[in-house]
């Protein structure tokens, strides 16, 4: 009876994963979707612990299992609850790495069983182990290890622990490692059972190495894409475990994440107007190399702090466009102060949120939510583009690419075709940034040279604080 019920548990889990993921892709149901998937996961875990039977034998070692689960749960919950909102992507990367390591460890233990069972007799490993079985083990090991190592590097880079590192010919080097991995994996299969562990663990080491060098050269700003890709890797590694144990919950959950994660990676790239290859090789559109930047004519006009404060104080509607610079300067709280102060003066203040502003999808939503900005004040791109027409002052805070009109007018621009916030529709535009340096895409911005636009140079946090004092004096 037990195993039959367990099958049903696994079916339920698979269905909740599908439903959960589906609901996660719609804002109205996302949170419930997450809970549903979590419920399915609990069912699958408890079912496995209490109902799993192998040749009629139940699982043992309950004290070990439960203490491991308790330790993992406590640490996991604490870390997840404590972390700052803006540090979430690196946390996702960290957890992803844990999953990858888990998949790799399982496969290693299973390999170890096979190795111990056969090391006494001298024969080819391929004679004693079925190819499908070996394939599941070795694939799980390799993919899990790559995912683990890569995720840890991504985590380190995002939390500032490691720097970008690349050397000439790194791509060649990476491909070489990849080939070596495959060779040693195949070699292990045809080795003598007595020494098969050597090529096997060399494969593991190479896979870890590959994970490191795969992620190291990629720019920090592209980490969300890489994490999403590694996420789908871990999914595939979990699916290998599903093959190994003929376990449908692992198989379906793993493949689901593998497929959805791959598509999500591509969608993320597309939202930034880039291709995946481009992200992984790490240059933006190749324009920087070409050096065919157009000389932009026109002058840049600066505005004084007091004039800027005055302009906003007497406006009817002000729209704030936050960007990566705001996040870097950690100026979200000061920004919220400014908004409240303007609000008290009877000015209508709203935020225009571009979907890829910042360095991860939803970055601005998370950032402003942390500063307790009310959700109603956040406008999505399409709404915002409608409202700009009736806006008196747009305050651009550390955003650049997402307001670059080249995306609309200049077919030769690498960001051409990306939808942007059309701030030029408003009466006045004030742009705050520290210099005339370009943003992520590395391109000039015609907006800064337009007659409507005035620049307010300086660090976002400092400028906002000074604006606040000016406002108080009006």
């Amino acid at each position: 009876m037990g195993p039959s019920i367990l099958s049903v548990c696994y079916i339920v889990a698979s269905v909740t994963f599908i439903l959960g993921l589906k609901m996660l892709s719609n804002p109205a149901t996302a949170r419930r979707g997450n809970l549903i998937a979590a419920a399915g996961m609990i069912i699958a875990i408890l079912g496995t612990i209490f109902l799993y039977e192998d040749d009629g034998k139940r699982l043992g070692n309950y004290p070990w299992i439960f203490s491991a689960i308790i330790i993992g749960s406590i640490i996991g919950t604490m870390v997840a609850k404590k972390v700052k909102m803006t540090a979430m992507p690196e946390l996702v990367s960290f957890f992803n790495g844990m999953g990858g390591a888990c998949a790799a460890l399982i496969s290693i233990v299973e390999f170890d069983y096979l190795y111990r069972a056969h090391r006494e007799v001298s024969s080819s490993f391929s004679d004693v182990v079925a190819s499908g079985h070996y394939l599941a083990i070795i694939a799980g090991t390799i993919i899990g290890s790559v995912s683990f190592a890569g995720s840890i590097i991504a985590w380190g880079k995002l939390s500032g622990k490691f720097k970008d590192y690349s050397f000439k010919g790194q791509h060649l080097f990476n491909n070489l490692i990849l080939i070596l991995i495959l060779v040693s994996a195949v070699y292990a299969y045809f080795s003598n059972t007595q020494f098969v562990n050597i090529p096997f663990f060399i494969t593991v080491a190479l896979a870890l190495l590959y994970g490191v060098f795969f992620v190291l050269p990629i720019g920090g700003a592209d980490m969300p894409v890489v994490i999403s890709l590694l996420n789908s890797f871990t999914g595939v590694a979990a699916a290998c475990g599903g093959f190994l144990y003929n376990n449908k919950a692992m198989l379906t959950g793993g493949i689901l994440v593998g497929a959805a994660g791959t598509l999500l990676t591509i969608l993320m790239c597309r939202a930034m107007n880039r291709s995946l290859v481009n992200v992984l090789i790490g240059s933006f559109g190749g324009t920087k190399a070409g050096g065919d930047e157009k000389a932009i004519e026109g002058n840049v006009k600066e505005i004084s702090l007091s004039d800027a404060a005055m302009l906003m104080a007497y406006a009817k509607k002000v729209m704030i466009v936050p960007g990566y610079g705001l996040a870097v300067a950690q100026a979200q709280h000061t920004c919220h102060e400014l908004e409240k102060s303007l609000d008290e003066k009877g000015v209508e203040v709203k935020y225009a949120i571009h979907p890829v502003a910042g360095r991860m999808p939803g970055h601005m939503n998370v950032l402003l939510a942390e500063a307790d900005v009310s959700y109603e004040k956040l406008l999505e791109m399409d709404e915002a583009n409608e409202e700009f027409k009736t806006t008196d002052v747009v305050l651009v805070l550390g955003a650049n690419d997402v307001v670059n009109p080249a995306a609309k007018n200049d077919p030769s621009s690498p960001i051409y075709g990306m939808p942007i916030l059309e701030v030029e529709l408003a009466k006045n535009v004030i742009v705050n940034k520290r210099s005339m340096k370009p943003g992520y895409a590395g391109i000039e911005n015609q907006l800064f040279y337009q007659p409507k636009t005035s620049m307010l140079f300086g660090d976002a946090k400092k400028v906002l604080q000074e604006l606040l004092t000016e406002l108080k004096n009006i």
């Binding site: 889990a13 996660l24 892709s25 719609n26 804002p27 996302a30 997450n34 809970l35 996961m41 699958a44 875990i45 799993y52 070692n61 070990w64 299992i65 993992g72 640490i75 996991g76 997840a80 609850k81 972390v83 909102m85 979430m88 996702v92 992803n96 999953g99 888990c102 998949a103 460890l105 233990v109 170890d112 069983y113 499908g132 969300p224 999914g235 590694a237 979990a238 699916a239 599903g242 144990y245 919950a249 198989l251 379906t252 493949i255 689901l256 994440v257 497929a259 959805a260 598509l263 999500l264 993320m268 939202a271 979907p355 890829v356 939803g362 939503n365 998370v366 009310s374 959700y375 999505e380």
Partner: protein
């Protein structure tokens, strides 16, 4: 080639499940708006934590003398739990940001 076809036939049901899941994975999230990319990634991350089932099986089957299996299995369960619990909790926290306040 022949052995590939043979392998497919022997695992035909698995092959079907894999193919159908791939289609489903792609269909399901095809229309996700970009703001949800991060929570969706995080939620998917939690789901692949299902690999913990394998870790539990390894741990539960390990005989008392087999330290490799016991230690690695224990570690695997801890890491798997981290992935699952941390993944779902962090996703929930993110999504809390997106709901209408008040």
């Amino acid at each position: 080639m022949e052995s590939v076809i043979h392998f497919i036939q022997e695992n035909i049901q698995m092959v079907y499940i894999v193919i159908l899941m791939i289609f489903l994975g792609i269909e399901i999230i095809g229309r996700v708006p970009s703001v949800l990319h991060t929570p969706l990634m995080s939620g998917a991350n939690a789901i692949h934590g299902v690999v913990i089932i394998g870790a539990i099986i390894v741990m539960g089957k390990a005989e008392s003398g087999n330290y490799v299996a016991l230690v690695l299995g224990f570690l695997a369960v801890v890491l798997g739990t981290l992935n699952v619990v941390g993944g779902f909790v962090v996703t929930d926290r993110m999504l809390e940001m997106f709901k209408k306040k008040k």
